[in-house]
C-alpha cells in the first residue's frame, strides 16, 4: 500500500497538516490510535478567536462560550483584568475540544485525506538507511504502508521523532503535568477566564477556571513535572476547589489529565522523509501552555510545504523543516515566551503580588513587554533587577 504522506495522529496539528497537504494535491493517509477522534479530551479548551481567520472550521458547534477577557489572580488574591485581545492566545473561545477536533478532521477528509481509526504506528520502515514507510497495527493486524513523508503529529509523547533519531525526550522542568474537572452547578465569571498564580497553590504552573456555559466550567491545574510528586496535581486541585465555595458546590461531569510541553520549540524537527508538528515539536506557548493556535498555524505551513515536496520530489530534511521559516513570527514568540517562563519560575509569590498590585489599575490598551516593564519599574524601582531579563527579551 502506498501513499505520498502518512500523518500519525489526528489532533489539530495532524488534521490541519493533512488537510493542506491533501489540498495541495498529495495523497494523504492520517491514522489515529484511538477509536474516536478528539476523545478523550486532553485540554483546557481555550483558544484565541484568531482561529476563525484560518478558515479550517465550519459553523460554531465547536464553541461552548465566548470570552471578553481574563482575570489573573496573584497569590494574595489581587485581580488583574485583561481584555481577551491582550490576554494571550487562550482566552477567546472556550471550546468543545472533541467536536473541534472532529471538525478539523472532517476538513482534512473533505480535502481528500483518508483516515484510519484504531490504527497505531509501531515503527518506521527503513530500506538502505532511508525511511520509506510506516508499520501500522490495526485490529490485531500488521500493515506496512509505504510513503515519501511521515508526519509525526503524535503529541507530547511522540514516538515518531525518537524512531527517526530526533531527540524529543522532555526534561521534567519543561513539562506541565495537569488535571482538570468539568464541573456543573458552579458560579462562574461569565465571559471571563480566571487564572490563579502562586507557587504554593500551583508549583511552577497555574490554576484555570474556564466557563463553558452559565453554570459549567473547566477547572484545572498544571504544575511543573520537576516540582511534582506522584498524584500531587490532583491533590492540589482538589484542595483549591475545596477552598472556593462557588466552585466546590458543583458536581463533576468529567475528569481528565494532561501533559503539556513548555519547552523551546524544536528547530531540528525533521530528517529526510520525516517531519514533526504540534506538541511533538513543542509548538506550545511556554507561558500559558496553549498549543492549539500554534498547531493550526504551523500545521498549515507544514501541509503546504509537504504538498510542494510531493510535487518536486524533494523530501530532504532541509526542505521539510523549512516550514518553520514560514511561521517565523510564531517561532520568535514561542522562543521569547520560553525565556519569560524561566523568569517567572524564578519569581516568588511576593513578587507576583507586587506585580499584581502595580498592574491592577493598568490600562492594557497598549500592551507591550517594554511598556509594561517601564510602568512597573516606575512604581517599584526594586523590581528593576528582577525584570531586567524581561527587557532583554522585549527586544528579541
Amino acid at each position: 500500500m502506498k501513499f505520498d504522506v502518512v500523518v500519525i495522529g489526528s489532533g489539530p496539528a495532524g488534521s490541519v497538516t493533512a488537510r493542506f497537504a491533501a489540498e495541495g494535491g498529495a495523497k494523504v493517509l492520517m491514522i489515529e490510535r484511538r477509536s474516536e477522534i478528539g476523545t478523550p479530551v486532553l485540554c483546557g479548551e481555550g483558544i484565541s478567536k484568531k482561529v476563525e481567520e484560518f478558515g479550517v472550521l465550519e459553523g460554531t458547534r465547536w464553541i461552548a462560550s465566548s470570552m471578553d477577557g481574563a482575570n489573573i489572580y496573584s497569590p494574595d488574591g489581587t485581580c488583574v483584568t485583561m481584555d481577551a485581545e491582550h490576554a494571550g492566545n487562550e482566552t477567546g473561545h472556550v471550546i468543545y475540544r472533541d467536536i473541534f477536533d472532529q471538525e478539523l478532521a472532517k476538513s482534512a477528509a473533505n480535502a481528500g485525506a483518508e483516515i484510519w481509526m484504531d490504527a497505531r504506528a509501531t515503527g518506521l520502515i527503513k530500506k538502505d538507511g532511508k525511511i520509506v514507510g510506516v508499520q501500522i497495527e490495526q485490529y490485531g493486524e500488521e500493515i506496512e504502508v509505504e510513503c515519501d513523508v511521515v508526519v509525526g503529529a503524535d503529541g507530547v509523547e511522540s514516538k515518531v521523532g525518537r524512531w527517526a533519531g530526533i531527540n524529543t525526550t522532555l526534561d521534567p522542568c519543561d513539562l506541565e503535568t495537569c488535571a482538570q474537572y468539568t464541573l456543573t452547578g458552579v458560579d462562574v465569571h461569565e465571559g471571563y477566564c480566571d487564572f490563579y498564580l502562586g507557587h504554593e497553590i500551583a508549583p511552577g504552573g497555574y490554576i484555570w477556571v474556564f466557563p463553558k456555559g452559565k453554570d459549567v466550567a473547566n477547572v484545572g491545574m498544571g504544575i511543573l513535572a520537576s516540582l511534582s510528586s506522584p498524584g500531587q496535581v490532583k491533590e492540589l486541585l482538589d484542595e483549591f476547589i475545596s477552598c472556593h465555595p462557588e466552585i466546590a458546590k458543583g458536581q463533576p461531569v468529567r475528569f481528565l489529565t494532561g501533559a503539556v510541553p513548555v519547552a523551546k520549540p524544536l528547530e531540528e524537527l525533521a530528517v529526510d522523509n520525516v517531519v514533526l508538528i504540534g506538541d511533538s515539536a513543542r509548538q506550545v506557548d511556554p507561558i500559558t501552555g496553549g498549543g492549539l493556535m500554534a498547531s493550526i498555524e504551523a500545521g498549515k505551513a507544514c501541509g503546504e510545504v509537504i504538498a510542494e515536496a510531493v510535487e518536486t520530489g524533494d523530501f530532504s530534511e532541509e526542505f521539510l523543516k523549512s516550514y518553520i521559516d514560514r511561521v517565523g513570527t510564531l517561532y520568535k514568540k514561542l522562543k521569547r515566551n520560553y525565556v519569560v517562563k524561566e523568569i517567572m519560575l524564578d519569581m516568588d509569590d511576593k513578587t507576583f503580588n507586587m506585580l499584581a498590585h502595580s498592574l491592577k489599575d493598568y490600562k492594557f490598551e497598549e500592551l507591550s513587554t517594554l511598556s509594561l516593564v517601564s510602568a512597573l519599574v516606575k512604581k517599584h524601582p526594586s523590581l528593576l533587577v528582577r525584570l531586567k531579563p524581561l527587557l532583554k527579551v522585549a527586544k528579541m
Binding site: 506522584p230 494532561g258 501533559a259
Partner: protein
C-alpha cells in the same frame, strides 16, 4: 540487591502520555491506549513516577541475584 522498576496500574492510567514524554530510556509506550513500561528498558529513575498526575505509576521492587 534490589532493583526498582516502574509499573503502570492500567485501571488508574488516564492516558495523558506525560510519563512517555519524559522517559529518558524510551521505556514507555502505548499498549491498548494505556501507558506500558518495558521492564527490560526501565532503569528505575522514577521520573515517570513523579510526573504521573494521578499516581498511577508504582515503583516495584524486584530482587535480582
Amino acid at each position: 540487591m534490589v532493583k526498582r522498576k516502574a509499573f503502570v496500574e492500567k485501571k488508574e492510567c488516564l492516558a495523558c502520555g506525560g510519563c512517555i514524554s519524559v522517559c529518558p530510556e524510551d521505556a514507555l509506550e502505548w499498549v491498548a491506549n494505556k501507558a506500558y513500561v518495558d521492564e527490560e528498558k526501565c532503569i528505575g529513575c522514577q521520573i515517570c513516577y513523579k510526573t504521573c498526575p494521578v499516581g498511577a505509576i508504582a515503583m516495584v521492587e524486584e530482587a535480582i541475584a
